[in-house]
Structures are given as structure tokens and as C-alpha cells.
């Protein structure tokens, strides 16, 4: 009985998703600091706006470049055997 294990392209998205999680956490920390301690100034507001716009632009551009990829495509496949017959030669 053969078992087949496939590595598909979407596995590449897993480390990227972990990175995005870290990115979101640090972004929230940054936004908390400037909102709490920045003193509601025009410069602070503009910088925050530019940061969020830039982040969204980068994320959208990434999505746009990747949307045609077939993520279910099998990159690597390997098979193994179950129910090995072990002939001891007795």
C-alpha cells in the first residue's frame, strides 16, 4: 500500500503568514505609541496616514503579483510503503 505525501505551493505562504503576524503586532505597537504619546499633531497624523497607506499598498501589490499563482500545484511528492514484508530467512 503506497502512501504519497505532497508538498504544495501554498506551504510557502505559511512562513509569510507568520511574518505578517509579527508585522501587524509591531505596527499596532507603533500606532499605539504615536497615538498615545504623539500629542495629536498634524505631523503625527500625516506620518501615520502615510505609514498605513504604504503598508496597504505593499500588501495589495503582493496580492496582485501572486493572484495568478496556482497554490495547489504540487511542488514535491514522495511516496513510502506500509505493511513491509520482512523476510527473516528462518
Amino acid at each position: 500500500m503506497n502512501t504519497t505525501f505532497n508538498i504544495q505551493l501554498f506551504w510557502l505562504l505559511i512562513p509569510h503568514a507568520l511574518f505578517l503576524l509579527v508585522f501587524v503586532i509591531f505596527s499596532l505597537i507603533n500606532l499605539y505609541h504615536i497615538l498615545r504619546w504623539g500629542g495629536y499633531t498634524f505631523v503625527g497624523f500625516t506620518a501615520t496616514f502615510i505609514y498605513l497607506a504604504g503598508a496597504l499598498l505593499l500588501l495589495f501589490q503582493t496580492y496582485d503579483m501572486l493572484k495568478t499563482i496556482d497554490w495547489l500545484e504540487v511542488v514535491y511528492s514522495f511516496s513510502g510503503y506500509e505493511n513491509l514484508d520482512v523476510n527473516m530467512g528462518l
Binding site: L12, F26, G39, V43, Y51, T62, L66, I69
Partner: protein
């Protein structure tokens, strides 16, 4: 939070100056960021010339896009953190106190206060070509308090700020003398 809330402004207190480092000191960070943003572009052209099949491979193309995306998001959030560190460094001069807010990274912040009447002496320094051209430098206030020196680093027009600081300190000393009599 407004600046009054951050420094717990007293009823009789009036904010005279809110100072930050000169914007030119942040320009260095901007240049580093722009150089970092250009690095993947050079890599792209290098790969396009020497290894063009990598840009069209079924695995390599999405992998390169994801790596570039992570790189740009990483430098973007780092650049914003550097801006916050620059922007949240403040010196607030009121008619009663000198408050220093020193943001170190994202997770460290030091707030120091100095009553103006404790200022014994102040000097201002401008060093370097750019500092001279764009008129920024340091003001060092010598105090009678526990902390001997209070330094305002890289602020615009330091000579004017030094003079105003000494004038305000003199005024605060007179206020304290009068209030005791």
C-alpha cells in the same frame, strides 16, 4: 494624549516651547531607508540578467515575490519605528519647568524634569558644517539638582533657546523669591 496631559501641566504653567531634534537629523534615517529599498531592485536586475529562469519558475517566482514582500514590509515598519523614536523625543520648556521626554526604541521611555530656578548656567554649541548651515545644535544646562547637566541635543536655533532658557530661569527664581517673602 495632549502635551499638557503628558507633562501633567500645572494650572499656572504655560508651555513656552515644544522642541524636537532638527529634521535634518532624521534625514540620515531616510537615506538609509531609501538605500535599503533600492537593494531588491539591484537584485532583480542581477537575477534578470544572469538567472532569468528564476523569475519564471513555478516555485521560484512566488518565493521571490514573498521574500521581497517580507523585506519591504520589514523595512517599512522599521522605518516607522525610527520615525516614532525621533518624533517622540521632546523637550518642553514651560515658565516653571524643563521637561525632557526621551524615547529609546519602542519599549523604553525616560521623562526627566528640571525646575527652571535650579538652572545655574547654560551654554549652546553648534558643531559641523551642516549644523552651522542649518542652525542646529545642543543646549547644555548646568543645574543645582541631582542631575548636574540637562542636555537638549540637536535642537534648532540653540543660541536663541539658551538665552530664552536663562531668561525664564531668572524669572522663575524671582517668582520663588517673591513667593517666599
Amino acid at each position: 494624549m495632549t502635551i499638557s496631559e503628558i507633562i501633567h501641566k500645572k494650572v499656572y504653567e504655560e508651555i513656552i516651547y515644544r522642541l524636537r531634534k532638527h529634521p535634518l537629523l532624521f534625514a540620515r534615517t531616510v537615506l538609509v531607508f531609501l538605500f535599503s529599498a533600492a537593494v531588491p531592485v539591484f537584485f532583480y536586475y542581477f537575477i534578470a540578467v544572469h538567472y532569468p529562469t528564476l523569475l519564471e519558475g513555478a516555485v521560484t517566482k512566488p518565493a521571490l515575490i514573498l521574500v521581497a514582500s517580507a523585506y519591504y514590509l520589514g523595512i517599512w515598519v522599521f522605518f516607522f519605528a525610527q520615525f516614532i523614536e525621533y518624533y517622540l523625543d521632546n523637550w518642553i520648556i514651560t515658565n516653571d519647568r524643563l521637561v525632557s521626554i526621551d524615547q529609546r526604541g519602542l519599549f523604553a521611555r525616560t521623562i526627566s524634569e528640571l525646575d527652571l530656578y535650579r538652572i545655574q548656567d547654560a551654554r549652546s554649541e553648534i558643531h559641523g558644517i551642516f549644523a552651522t548651515m542649518f542652525n542646529y545644535g545642543d543646549v547644555i544646562a548646568q543645574t543645582a539638582g541631582e542631575k548636574e547637566f540637562f542636555i537638549l541635543k540637536g535642537i534648532p536655533d540653540p543660541h536663541h533657546i539658551r538665552q530664552r532658557l536663562l531668561d525664564l530661569a531668572e524669572g522663575d527664581r524671582k517668582f520663588h523669591v517673591l513667593s517666599k517673602t
